[in-house]
């Protein structure tokens, strides 16, 4: 795939020229340098960030995502009657009340997007080996979408935080965050870190070189 795209415009990459770009400041450092000569940030030994952090953050995010769905997200007490609702439970409740739009938004932000992110990051990490139907460009776009959309998953956590802060009317109505709110926030943070630690240049390096540079990643 990459060959077909590259064959049209043959470009000399920095890597082929024996340089490695700093992800912080963009300076091209000679391959083998441990520290960026301009900004002093650490450079990956192989010239490319490994896949290990990606997988680590991703798995951490997945682990945090399980309690986020099992435990209650909100604890609402109305006149002493306490009700705990999980994410899915809340969505079901909204559907029962007929608020399909809100239910869809919650479902999208809290369930679909996180799961899609997990799948997308895992897909990107796995397809570095080459067996893929998406072009390099599409994968790059996918990566950017994932990185962009990641922060929006925090909308749930914000809603909980705002409700908790505003709705504290003692006995009448009180809303408190459940343990799932923290787990969900952690899960979102972990997946964002996973997306961030993914080095998009690995996509461009192509399958033949990914085996060399992503050696540590393949081990996990």
């Amino acid at each position: 795939m990459e060959n077909s795209g590259a064959s049209q415009h043959r470009i000399l990459t920095a890597r082929e020229a024996g340089y490695v770009g700093c992800r912080m400041c963009g300076r091209a450092n000679p391959v083998g340098a441990h520290v960026c000569t301009r900004c002093g940030s650490k450079l990956p030994t192989n010239g490319r960030a490994g896949l290990q952090p990606v997988w680590a953050w991703l798995i951490a995010g997945l682990i945090a995502y399980i309690p986020a769905n099992l435990w209650p997200m909100l604890r609402t007490s109305v006149f002493g009657r306490t009700q705990e609702s999980t994410i899915i439970g809340g969505v079901v409740e909204l559907v029962e009340y007929g608020s399909y739009g809100v239910a869809f938004i919650v479902f999208l932000a809290s369930v679909m997007i996180p799961i899609a992110k997990f799948i997308a990051i895992a897909y990107l990490a796995i397809t570095l080996e080459g067996r893929t139907r998406l072009s390099t460009h599409d994968r790059m776009k996918l990566y950017e979408v994932v990185e962009f959309i990641g922060r929006w998953s925090m909308i749930d956590v914000f809603v909980v935080a705002i409700l908790t802060a505003l709705v504290q009317l003692d006995f009448a109505v009180a809303i408190n965050p459940g343990i799932a709110a923290a787990s969900f926030a952690l899960s979102v943070a972990f997946t964002m870190l996973a997306a961030q630690s993914f080095d998009p240049r690995l996509i461009w390096d192509g399958p033949q070189k990914a085996g060399h540079y992503g050696k540590s990643g393949t081990k996990s």
């Binding site: 391959v31 952090p53 680590a56 798995i59 006149f79 009657r81 972990f190 540590s216 081990k219």
Partner: protein, 700 residues
């Protein structure tokens, strides 16, 4: 690893990889994050798993208001768990509520544990569980502080238990003829103080009575002894007695919800066993009268056969021994003596129950000991006989009394249905006819004697009036005047001052006028003048103030001039005058006074001629007529007596109609039941509202 910018070609460097760089060395530190997340998640999961508590099942007949995942389990109003799910028993007869209870509490859930659903309740005694209207119902539990064998399945109670396990007090069983007014939760009162409560009444096996469990809190439970009697305080009582009609209502709550009260009716009650059943008497007087704490319990059953009629003897009548109630008549029956020879010859049997303790036997005396005692007593003349229970009453009691000359008899231990005490007949003629007995008593009242006395009194009045001595009264006055004249004409009377003489002359002049006019009216004016004059007289003769006063009185009374009064006043005046005249100073009265008296006497004589005595006689005659009328009236007394009889009979019927089974009572009870039903409906309404508050808003 990679080549540097060297101008001169050199042999390619060997790619050397560090041999020690194992797979583990390649691992990034980032892996600590998922590991930590995993550990934390697992720890949380394990914690919640281990702390989720013990699962228990509580079986209720209805899970009204209980929601899975929402309804809390509380112990002393502290949440100790929550309901997880609700299902049915296999036969769909009951609801199984599955709940989780905290691990710390679970060991205490042994067989002492009870659970019930707390709902809002509106009753005559108040409103309870109001908080659950908003927060929803919860399941409350109670258990003692012993760690018994933990159980996981419990039978839920329909109502809060009478006494929470672990509460100090005593559980007793009461027996009542019916459960009206003895609803669950009704109070047990001791001198008006609530010391316990009742549970739901239940029928006995035979269905002839109602058993109610009651709980009396410590320390009041120590008051319960063999001397304790319970009575029903529900409703109200109307009593018609010698003090009039009295209506007693304890409290509105007692009126609607009922309740029982108890007291110790005599001193020295013994502790009673736990299985003792106490009877609930219909009212306090009945409870205080009853010596037997409980029919059929603690008493010795005996029977007495009576040859003559026992009408008036009723179940519940007292059995007296030496004037003290020792038991009561439990039932009455009739037995055919000899069916073959005389089919109509009945023997009337009263079954009685006697408390050995009240007979004076030790408290542990059993039936045999009591019978031994009675056997000895009967050998020495103890017999049963009927006796009246009081004045104006046709009720009979059974009296155990010593009859000295009774024929020989003995205790028949084998008699059916109970050992038989020999009886003696007593001549009680007015037993059989109730009305007759009452009327006899009324006719025996000393009405005739009273009337006779009245007639005699009137007769003596008449006799007094006709007494000749009374007619001689004016003569006596003449004598008096003469005596007075004797005194006045005494030598000392000369010494009276001149002024007094003048006054006397005035009086004489006035009386002369009086005589001239021949009218009594003028006497009034004359006496008024006399009164004026007597003022001077008083100044002149201070030694005679009483005389002056009497003169004034005379003048005053003359205003209202009536002949007899005038005479009486004049007489009094003359008496006073005599007294004064008798005094030393009066000796000095002038002869003018003498003349005055002379005139007075003349006046009196005229008055007498005027027919005073005749009038008095006429007055006496009319008094005699009056007495005759009274005598005539007395003749009609028998019919009055008859009416009183009728009245008594009617009163009796009235009193009887207020007894237990009368229409009035029934209607009152019906009314009260309707009030209770209304209260229940209110309670149901409150429950309904609590169950679905929306119905208030949306209607239904």
């Amino acid at each position: 690893m990679s080549d540097t910018e060297e101008p001169t070609p050199r042999p390619a460097e060997l790619q050397v990889l560090p041999p020690s760089r194992s797979a583990w060395r390649n691992l990034s530190l980032v892996w600590l994050v998922p590991i930590a997340a995993l550990i934390i998640s697992l720890a949380l999961a394990w914690q919640s798993w281990s702390q989720r508590g013990v699962q228990i099942e509580i079986v209720f007949s209805s899970a009204e208001g209980v929601n899975a995942g929402e309804t809390a389990l509380r112990f002393r109003e502290v949440v100790i768990g929550s309901v997880e799910r609700i299902n049915f028993t296999d036969d769909l007869a009951n609801v199984v509520v599955t709940a989780r209870v905290n691990n710390e509490i679970a060991p205490f859930l042994d067989e002492s544990a009870t659970f019930w659903v707390v709902r809002p309740e509106v009753s005559a005694r108040g409103i309870t569980g109001l908080g659950t209207v908003l927060s929803g119902v919860y399941i409350a539990g109670a258990w003692d502080d012993d760690r018994g064998t933990p159980r996981t399945r419990f039978e839920g109670l329909e109502r809060p238990p009478l006494a929470a396990p672990g509460r100090l007090g005593r559980r007793i069983t009461l027996r009542a003829s019916d459960g009206v007014g003895l609803g669950a939760g009704a109070p047990v009162l001791f001198r008006g103080v609530e010391v316990g409560s009742l549970e739901t009444p239940r029928l006995t096996q035979a269905g002839d009575a109602v058993l109610i469990d009651a709980f009396v809190e410590s320390p009041h439970d120590q008051r319960i002894s063999s001397a304790t009697r319970f009575w029903d305080t529900s409703g109200f009582s109307v009593a018609i007695g010698t003090q009039g009609v009295s209506l007693e209502v304890d409290s509105l709550a007692a009126l609607l919800a009922g309740g029982v009260a108890f007291d110790n009716v005599f001193e020295g009650g013994e502790p009673v066993p736990d299985d003792r059943v106490f009877d609930v008497f219909p009212n306090e007087p009945a409870a205080r009268r009853a010596r037997l704490s409980s029919r059929g319990y603690g008493g010795v059953r005996l029977s007495v056969a009576f040859g003559d009629t026992i009408s008036g003897l009723r179940p519940g009548a007292a059995v007296q021994f030496g004037g003290l109630e020792v038991g009561e008549v439990s039932s009455l029956s009739a037995v055919v003596l000899d069916p073959e020879r005389a089919p109509g010859d009945l023997e009337l049997i009263a079954n009685i129950t006697v408390d050995p303790v009240l007979l004076g036997l030790p408290s542990d005396a059993d039936t045999a000991a009591t019978l031994d005692f009675l056997e000895t007593a009967i050998a020495s003349g103890l017999r049963a006989r009927l006796a009246t229970s009081g004045f104006l009453s046709d009720r009979l009691t059974v009296e155990l009394a010593s009859v000295p000359d009774a024929p020989d008899a003995s205790l028949d231990r084998d008699a059916q249905p109970a050992p038989r005490i020999p009886s003696v007949e007593v001549d009680l003629p007015d037993f059989s006819a109730t009305a007759e007995g009452v009327l006899t008593r009324i006719t025996e009242l000393p009405i005739e004697a009273l009337m006779e006395q009245a007639i005699r009194t009137l007769a003596s009045i008449e006799g007094f009036a006709a007494d000749p001595a009374l007619r001689d009264a004016p003569g006596a006055a003449v004598d008096l005047f003469e005596a007075a004249r004797d005194v006045v004409t005494g030598p000392d009377a000369i010494a009276l001052p001149g002024e007094l003489r003048g006054i006397a002359a005035d009086i004489r002049g006035m009386i002369a006028d009086l005589r001239e006019d021949q009218a009594l009216a003028n006497l009034s004016i004359a006496l008024a003048n006399a009164a004026e004059a007597s003022a001077d007289f008083a100044v002149a003769a201070q030694q005679t103030p009483a005389l002056v006063d009497d003169l004034r009185d005379l003048a005053a009374q003359a205003e209202a001039l009536e002949a007899d009064k005038l005479i009486r006043t004049a007489q009094a005046f003359l008496e006073s005058a005599e007294a004064i005249v008798g005094a030393e100073e009066a000796q000095d009265l002038v002869p003018g006074l003498n003349a005055t008296l002379e005139e007075l006497r003349a006046t009196l004589a005229e008055l007498r001629d005027g027919g005073l005595i005749a009038n008095a006689n006429a007055a006496m005659q009319s008094a005699a007529d009056a007495a005759d009328s009274v005598a005539t009236a007395a003749d009609t007394l028998p019919s009055v007596t008859q009416r009183i009889d009728n009245l008594v009979v009617e009163t009796e019927a009235l009193v009887a109609s207020y007894s237990a089974q009368s229409d009035f009572n029934t209607e009152t009870l019906t009314a009260l039941r309707e009030i209770t039903a209304a209260a229940r409906a209110m309670s149901q309404l409150a429950r309904e509202i609590q169950r679905s508050p929306n119905s208030l808003i949306f209607g239904r």
